[in-house]
Subunit: 483 residues, 2 copies
């Protein structure tokens, strides 16, 4: 039976050969997620949800530090709210899901939130009175629904997903700009420190910005198959929503003024990004900071020494409870079978402990990403484990960063751009800023879109010419295919 299970358990395709199938198998077989019996939806199984909780924990701490408060607004949004901000309505209407129930004939249709700008700002307009009430910084953790018609991809494309949406209101444009960037930088830190996923970051072009925003900033990861994933966005909404929803405040000078607004969000996409970035042909690889159980202890059991070995394993588990160590003392599975299963499930550190280890007062430690083996004295464990985990965290980030850097190709003309996209690169170039040029680049490359204008170096060099039309270039920019 164990043999048969082993076969089913393992990943049957290679990441480098068929990434789409590999990714799906990793998600399903590691029990991170499962498809739901409802089209376009999936289930966050306990291991996947634990990853989401790690993100929530980390980011709740950061938001509190930044003066953000959590709240919760209704799932339902009256249809008329969507139409108050024209571009927002236009951007979201194709993918809105509607409620069939009505209170009486002719009463307004209700949408299921695809995002909450409208329902939140309606309340803000009643809460905001004076400059003393500003800034408002409110976040909600919620489910949102977008009626996707494209194929479902676990964590990356689905009709319902979980996210956080922050919605802030400021007195001045400068305050707003500063914090749009602040929360983008918080996202960059989250991606790099928690998920060990390096990102490029900067402004979206006008074509790619959020529906209703003045401008949008983004962090983008780049996957080994040559596609970017938009991981988090931070929007300066300008004063358009304030105008549409009647937000105003009495300023210190006694005048009634329009405030500035921002919104920013990250979602369960980050789970998929983390999995795709780090995992391998044995299954899930979790950065230690994202692993609910950082250590698994596998006892090597023989009849005569079983009791003593298990007793010592219990002690080790107790010693490592700060790392939520699991002791796998199941009797009817071989150690080899357990090794495979825990590798599939991405536990960062495996400690093997058998009679020989007991004699030497040591454990055999195996790190998930490299598979490297080493012996650690039991009395050194408490110091060695956090160090091994930190090293693994750093190693995953460095490896991903090298991959990202290797993927970047700089081009100056369309032939080179088309070729680089064909080679699944993240293409850096210069660009005039016109939406028409973007459209044509997308056509000619078979789907590449602009990712961002790099924040640290936005302006194209003096005299440089747009990669597409040859007119004066305005921006440095990244193009690639994307999820």
């Amino acid at each position: 039976m164990a043999d048969e299970k082993e076969k089913q358990l393992g990943i049957t395709v290679k990441k480098e050969e068929d990434m789409a199938e590999w990714y799906q198998q990793v998600c399903l077989k590691s029990e991170v997620a499962d498809y739901a019996p409802v089209k376009g939806c999936y289930i966050l199984r306990p291991l996947g949800y634990a990853m989401w909780e790690k993100i929530q924990e980390y980011f709740n701490r950061r938001m509190k530090y930044r003066g953000v408060q959590n709240a919760y607004f209704p799932l339902f949004i009256p249809e008329s709210f969507f139409h108050k901000e024209a571009k927002h309505a236009e951007g979201f209407s194709p993918e809105v899901a509607w409620i069939a129930n009505r209170d009486e004939e002719g009463s307004e249709r209700l949408a299921i939130r695809p995002t909450s700008e409208t329902i939140m700002y309606d309340s803000y307009s009643r809460w905001l009175r004076s400059w003393r009430d500003l800034p408002i910084r409110i976040n909600q953790w919620a489910n949102v629904v977008r009626w996707e018609t494209q194929a479902t991809k676990l964590f990356l494309r689905s009709r319902e997903f979980l996210w956080q949406e922050g919605h802030c209101v400021y007195e001045t444009e400068a305050d707003c700009d500063r914090e749009v960037e602040l929360f983008l930088m918080e996202y960059k830190d989250l991606a790099e420190k928690l998920l060990a996923v390096p990102v490029i970051y900067g402004k979206k072009t006008d074509k790619e910005k959020f529906a209703g925003a003045k401008y949008t900033m983004t962090i983008e990861a780049f996957m080994p198959d040559g596609k970017a994933i938009q991981c988090g966005t931070s929007h300066n909404l300008g004063q358009g929503f304030a105008e549409a929803f009647g937000l105003s405040f009495q300023d210190k000078d006694g005048e009634q003024k329009l405030p500035w607004q921002s919104s920013w969000g990250i979602s369960t996409r980050l789970i998929g990004t983390t999995i795709m970035q780090h995992s391998d042909n044995k299954g899930l690889v979790l950065p230690p900071s994202m692993a609910p159980n950082k250590v698994v202890i596998v006892p090597i059991l023989f009849e005569e020494t079983m009791d003593k070995v298990l007793h010592k394993c219990q002690e080790i588990k107790e010693l490592l409870k700060g790392f939520d160590a699991v002791l796998d003392d199941r009797e009817d599975y071989t150690p080899g079978w357990k090794f495979n299963e825990w590798e599939l499930k991405g536990v960062p550190l495996r400690l093997e402990f058998g009679p020989k280890d007991m004699e030497a007062d040591q454990v055999t430690a195996v790190v998930r990403d490299t598979g490297e083996k080493q012996f650690i004295k039991v009395h050194d464990l408490k110091a060695a484990v956090p160090e091994l985990l930190q090293q693994m965290q750093n190693r995953l980030f460095e490896k991903a960063k090298q991959n990202l850097e290797k993927s970047i190709v700089e081009v100056a003309d369309m032939d080179a751009l088309v070729q680089a996209i064909k080679e699944r690169k993240l293409v850096k170039t210069v660009f005039c800023g016109e939406p028409e040029c973007e459209d044509l680049i997308k056509d000619k490359t078979g789907g590449a879109t602009s990712r961002c204008i790099p924040m640290d170096n936005p302006h194209a060099p003096e005299g440089s010419k747009c990669v597409h039309c040859g007119k004066d270039a305005k921006w440095n920019i990244y193009f690639s295919k994307s999820y």
Copy 2:
């Protein structure tokens, strides 16, 4: 301006005179909640959501201790799933909200989850293989929708609310029974320890049990206006859902068996219960364990001493950061205005600090529930604050407990029952167990329903007769009106 604001701020009716209006004012004016522009929905403002986070934090810890894992299942449920368990379908169908979007003509309708038994057990049926997979203990924190037609009551009755739903699967009936009770007792502890709300607890009658359950256990609080609030339920679902959704497992003996199932839930109702139980005519009273900020420091400012007083207040805030102390250093509000506002918002402990206090190296401490004033030396604060908070927590519970006990009246005939309900009591009596008798009691009392058969003493005394029909009584039971 301050005067005018003060007037708007305060609660304008008395709890003992018009509890419905008082409750609504407390919720709105303390900024715990607000009505939404969508019928039947409300907004959890930051203070209200912080209370929910306290419940989540506490209960996540308890669930982890009990081996429960969090997960997340889709918001949408195919219509056919509801009809698999007949009683469940019957119980929920009047209040289900439906999605208008369909993928193609004739495709199945989708419900928005009113509860997740069906969608979860469909997955369980694919995950469960052998006795080794049992018990399954999975919980989700989620929003649910029930298309209420009665008037909205903040936290207590609304079309959408937040809750947690635990869904477990066991090998045997005994395992299931034991944990149905275990999670009920966890709820009782949560209510009493965290919310300082005493409860009665026990089994629901067959008439009042959950749609599809074998039996339901409940904890019930009793409000000062003579109405009970069902605060949490734990259901033994028997084997009916397992049969309907095809859950089975191979047991140790090699045979394929039907498992036993349970589900249990608590919701944002608990926030309303806490508010209604403890708050007073000055506004919100929060049990310290539920308060996001347990201490507010209000400096008494005069021009000459302002800097020194503020400096010292900062030190005190730093000293008390474990209690998330707030320093209210706003300049254009009087101390009196601030006192009122923080009382309205329910902060458990107020520390006043002015020039005289500075000279004496003390603060003036005022506890929210009693309004009692005392002087505390600054160097004693770190020890005194937790003690004052713990005393307040105990005092709130004891007071509520005395109210609960005073409200209980034991009756033996219908006249006394009707009279006691009229006097807004929680009526203890004995009862035959027949749904018809319950219906008639409800009619004759103008709406009283059975709350529970007390767990510690379920059986009616030998020879006692049903309060309504006079036949042999089976159960001790509580009746009252309810929210």
